[in-house]
Symmetry: C2
């Protein structure tokens, strides 16, 4: 295989005080992340030429069951909802992409299509939608469901949801609005396309009450790595946010998903695979380890166990913490996440206690601790072997994790020609190397179910 | 009656190129209202000490039926969705309130509670929610309904919706978050209140994944003037955005709604009544009339008829335009809006053509054309006779309508002591003179159904 050309894409994943579960207890973290903290984060990432800021989301409060843990854990409760927050950040930045997570299970496609189109207009073409189906068992209880929604049902809804959203984004052709004062003609109705979608989950007439947005369609990101998640991504996503621990896993996943694109008439480059990478970097290995240990020591045991409950979908309280995890038969959460974490425990021979310590930082994602050169080596290896098109940086502690990466890792990547020194374009699409989608009226043989 | 004390509250209502239906054709208007236009609007209103910017909204494209009109009318299609837009405007302003319209018929209460809480956090306590039930007949077709939702059903849902939202805003007490690094205690669970709402329309467990917002609850505005709208407002709203043409109508409405508050244990001052006022102001009467006529001349007849279809809920094409409107038996839209417009036609003896010309600016709201002193006289009269606590300014043309009002009317109001020269507070609530609601755990005998 010839040495891979091109450059790494980078997303800056934001999680409150930092991705490490005990980050909020660290004296360097803002425990109560304010708007100013987010603005600084976005500006720092933009100055470093990251492709995008990436916001996770949930629509419930996790970690509430076991009282001890709930009192002691940062429970994912934030001041801000991602779409409103990114609209605010859009005005403080000018080039960086803005990706928000939103659930297909608990939204209406008309509302979501409109909000992302609005964010794309506000930001001049920098919006991205991270489509999730929401596997938190408690989320459904906030939306009129008596029990968690089964995965098959969530994915069937997601499939149709994304088609409706894309259809609504094409309500008007790019040049539909004449706004001709003299003739009094406001809109060319020949360039209006009423969706008239009638499906099993959605009946949406349209049109969307918004002109086509700068990117045509905001970039669609997808986070699931399960079988239906991969298939949905292959058909509809432009970026995959995924989790792989090892190079072997990563290249297998990469080949699998890219291999599914052809049957949807898509080229491999139309989908960027950007796994998460939890990175602790120091000027020396010892400094990196020290930084990591400072966080590890702040983990409270009941919080660690609660983390396992969320990651494995199983409550392990009552088990001997110094024994391996028991055989797992079922999960209340994501099956692919359970498999990933259980596989990690098996591979590294970890006890329950060691397992929660092991994932308290990366939470199932790839974990790297080392010098700038070591980190760059690892990222380069994964990139050149087609294990990834880029990475979503998970900072252990904010703001330090991001600034450390910018100071210590980016210069290494740039020296190797692996990361940009200036943005290639004005839109998120242009920077990611994704084409602007033609309006569906111009696409021949498009396989959009909504048409 | 002693002369009324206090000052007028003012909202700056924003409608695309201006409230007049032909505003987009005027050479002074931005036909394609950009983010910069909105930022300028908000900054101008803030410099003038308006209480709030007020954004209307709809979730469909109106005026699509008759082809001629659809091509020629500004169809309410905007680049921006109100909540994302206000989040962007929050960063460009620091004191003015930010009120967004959102529908109880086509949203989930958990999502809406969260977005308004987020806007309140982003803006430091300046968010307001204009609760509408959405009477546009076509809106329902974008949200899985096969036909428009009947008013009674919309209001029953709205009643429950607002209780759920308020309950979710009280998920945590103000001081629930300890974030104590040393003890490792993040949250005081005694100050967490799970909603566990089980009602006919909604089953929402909660809690909301957001700390209590700066205002406790974002300000709740309500726009309906029908019988169920008044009752809902008396029980739950803090501001009413309404439409009355005459002083007699206004004082009757004011007395009626304020009179309903006692049975909900509320004082008259806990609800501010702020009708719309469409104002064309000039340095002389002739200048004001000229400005108005310049807009009136831009109205295209088919657009005028389409406006009547929307306002009356009846299609009058085919009728003799120079005859009075025929007896109206039914409406596809708002009954109270139909009554208001039909009453205007009867009172002023207008033909169909004259009626659409008459409402093309104010669209059912109070219309004033005159000098600064004349406008101030009218506003003062309505205020001192308890016809209003304030007004929502509808600018015929933007940005000129707002700057005209600031230059020509505000100095008159200030001379009379009727409008502030500086903000009284930091939050929308403080400026409107509304108390910050105590957390429901501290309210004795609160009549919140969700509790």
């Amino acid at each position: 295989m010839a040495k891979r050309q091109g450059q790494i894409k980078l997303g800056a994943f934001h999680y409150i005080s930092g991705h490490h579960i005990a980050a909020w207890r660290h004296p360097g973290a803002s425990a109560d992340t304010s708007l100013a903290d987010y603005v600084n984060f976005a500006k720092t990432a933009e100055a470093a030429k990251f492709d995008a800021v990436f916001l996770a989301d949930s629509v419930d409060v996790r970690l509430l069951h076991p009282e001890g843990a709930a009192r002691k854990a940062h429970t994912g409760i934030t001041l801000f909802e991602p779409l409103t927050l990114l609209a605010a950040l859009a005005t403080a930045t000018s080039r960086i992409g803005l990706i928000a997570t939103a659930s297909t299970s608990f939204n209406e496609p008309f509302n979501l299509a409109r909000k992302f189109a609005s964010l794309d207009h506000i930001s001049g073409g920098r919006a991205g939608w991270n489509l999730v189906t929401t596997n938190d068992p408690e989320a459904a209880l906030n939306f009129n469901h008596m029990a968690p929604v089964p995965p098959a049902q969530r994915y069937a809804r997601a499939e149709e949801f994304v088609d409706v959203v894309r259809g609504l984004w094409d309500s008007f052709e790019d040049d539909a609005f004449l706004r001709d004062r003299d003739s009094g003609l406001y809109v060319d109705l020949a360039k209006l396309h009423v969706l008239d979608h009638q499906g099993p989950h959605f009946q949406v007439k349209g049109p969307l009450n918004s002109p086509r947005s700068p990117q045509g369609h905001p970039v669609v990101v997808q986070a699931g790595s399960s079988e239906p998640g991969r298939e949905l991504a292959a058909r509809t996503a432009e970026v995959i946010f995924t989790a792989q621990q090892t190079l072997a896993e990563a290249t297998r996943f990469y080949a699998d998903v890219k291999g599914r694109l052809a049957k949807y008439g898509r080229a491999p480059d139309e989908l960027k695979i950007m796994p998460g990478a939890f990175i602790v970097v120091g000027r020396s290995e010892a400094e990196a380890q020290d930084k990591f240990e400072a966080l590890q020591q702040l983990i409270q045991p009941e919080v660690g166990l609660e983390l396992l409950r969320v990651m494995l979908g199983v409550d392990l309280r009552g088990y001997d913490l110094d024994q391996p995890i028991p055989p797992l038969t079922d999960t209340l959460g994501s099956k692919s996440r359970q498999t990933l974490v259980a596989e990690l425990a098996r591979r590294e021979g970890l006890s329950i206690r060691q397992l929660y310590q092991r994932i308290a930082g990366a939470r199932g994602h790839w974990q790297l601790v080392g010098t700038g050169a070591q980190i760059a080596d690892e990222l380069e290896e994964r990139f050149v072997h087609y294990g990834a098109d880029g990475f979503n940086l998970m900072s252990p502690l904010l703001p330090q994790g991001l600034t450390d990466f910018v100071e210590l890792v980016l210069p290494e990547l740039r020296r190797r020609g692996l990361f940009r020194t200036e943005y290639e374009g004005r839109t998120l699409r242009e920077n990611l190397g994704l084409a602007r989608p033609a309006h569906r009226s111009a696409r021949a043989g498009a396989s959009v179910a909504a048409e």
